[in-house]
Amino acid sequence: MGNRVAIVGAGMTKFVRRAQETGKELSYHAAKMALESCGMTLDQIDAVVLGTAPDTFDGVHMKGEYLSDGAGAWGKPYMRSYVGGGTGVFSVAQGWYHIASGLIDTCLVVCEEKMSSYQPHAQAAFLTIFDHTTERPLKPNLLWIFALEMNRYMNTYGLRKEDIALVAVKNKNNALDHPCAQIAKAVTVKDILNSEVLAWPVQRLDVSPVSDGAVALILTNETIAHRVTNKPVWVEGVGWALDTSYWTNRDLCYPRYVEEAARMAYKMAGITDPRHQIHVAEPYDPFDYKELHHMEGLMLCGKGEAPQLTVDGVTQRDGELPTCPSGGLLGVGNPIAAAGLMKVAELFWQLRGEAGKRQIARKPKRGVAQAWGDLMQVGTVVVVGI
């Protein structure tokens, strides 16, 4: 059914708090590196897709159009997709359906974010994601919805902050081996628990930073993949689901929309036992508890069980199910859309044995990347295999 689609090249920029480069330049650097990594040139690319999150960060309306030249789209079919924070992983699904349709043979997937343009701080831009009548007059803060969700999750399953903090420790330490990392640091649980309380139960070191950065992948059909590289990484399954916008009507303790997206992706990939058939996972981790929340949504463990896996070391790089070996958003940085695609790039490098110091020794053959976004609402999942 449809054509097989492979990832054949990847590139990214450093993730920094504020980049000198414009959004166009960041996109260009990532795209150029991705092309160079597989010896392809821009004229061999049939179509370009771009993922980037709120236009408000850059203060540019129709940001997709503004970035199109940096992303290599001049004179080409070009589209920008948008599902909030889920965009990074979704853009791979977008590239996938371009090629699986048979109309397009090669696709450049670019994700870019430049959050530093917004003054005084990008966080303030998030005011505008809330409902303009029933929520914005209360001056909500992005931290609120994470804190509300973290509290509900902890309360429902009786989880401890000490266990959740282990995720931040793992990821920030993992990121020390990532050349593009923004805030890699050798931290301990004590550091996390002593950090400033932002919106209880969320503390400063539980949170990923605001960042600028870009990532790009090259996707091709099967025939071309075999010509370009002897190690194509196949897009085996894609899934996405968007829950109701009435988030206050939902129980935030479980991300059912991640499960829906995962089911769609696993079905396509022929996965029936995710816990054992997936060898490496990159769930979205803008906050430490989110990695756990999403591991459960991805059905890598039962509800409320993810913290125990972390405590037991299962999710370490040398554990049974390495999770966020890249260092994730907590360690590498969170330029929203680019962060999601960074996770897929990580799987690409891990499966090919090119992850350098971050390489998982066990030779993973199959990985899952997942991103999340909107008002605790969207799950986007991609399964890749070699």
Binding site: A19, C38, G59, N151, V197, W200, N221, T223, T248, N249
Partner: protein, 197 residues
């Protein structure tokens, strides 16, 4: 590098694709030695004018039509009432109101008056404002399940008149309203929710 015209047999459109000969990782390219781009700037670089900057304050103002569902909800708030809607197919009583049941995909069947009391579903103690200013006394946002609506039907609002350390999930609360003449038909007609003793 030689380029050859190779018919792409997997494309049903029969287009030609030019692609180079087979290779593994391009010999001159290695991730281990590659230089990642991206120049980080500090606050100082900008304040001291080491880089050029431009500034823009947008003129972006909106006035949103509330429509039937939220329009009536706001009117209810002005009169000190919390209104919800019901769907007879799934039996849910919903708040905030909407003209359609999103699960059954049909128009709602009627309006119900709910209570101005509820139960805290989840909450937080927030020490940072929306525009990133630190505050001593925390704001207490919460999702409050409204009495009279179906289980789990909550709205977001603030808690007040409560010791932050004493807030818990499951706490019963009641709305504290603005005075009648101060109400304008907005979610802020409810000042906050306080615990019911």
């Amino acid at each position: 590098m030689k380029k050859s015209n190779i018919k792409n047999q997997s494309s049903s459109e029969g287009r030609e694709v030019r692609i180079e000969h087979k290779k593994s990782l391009s010999p001159h390219y290695s991730l281990l030695t590659t230089k990642f781009q991206g120049v980080g700037l500090s606050d100082d670089d900008i304040k001291k004018g080491k880089v050029c900057t431009t500034h823009w304050i947008g003129d972006t103002k909106y006035a949103w039509d509330q429509g039937i569902a939220i329009g009536k909800y706001l009117e209810g708030l002005k009169h000190g009432k919390i209104l919800g809607v019901e769907c007879h197919k799934c039996g849910r009583k919903m708040v905030p109101p909407r003209m359609f049941c999103e699960w059954c995909f049909k128009t709602i069947d009627g309006w119900v008056e709910l209570f101005d009391t509820g139960v805290v579903n989840t909450f937080s103690l927030c020490y940072v404002t929306w525009d990133v200013k630190r505050v001593k006394e925390p704001q207490i946002p919460a999702v409050i399940e409204i009495d009279g609506a179906s289980k789990g039907m909550g709205i977001m609002h603030l808690l007040g008149e409560v010791n932050p350390k004493k807030v818990y999930i499951g706490m019963k609360v009641k709305a504290v309203w603005k005075s009648e003449k101060e109400r304008e038909g907005a979610i802020t007609d409810i000042l906050y929710w306080k615990p019911i003793k």
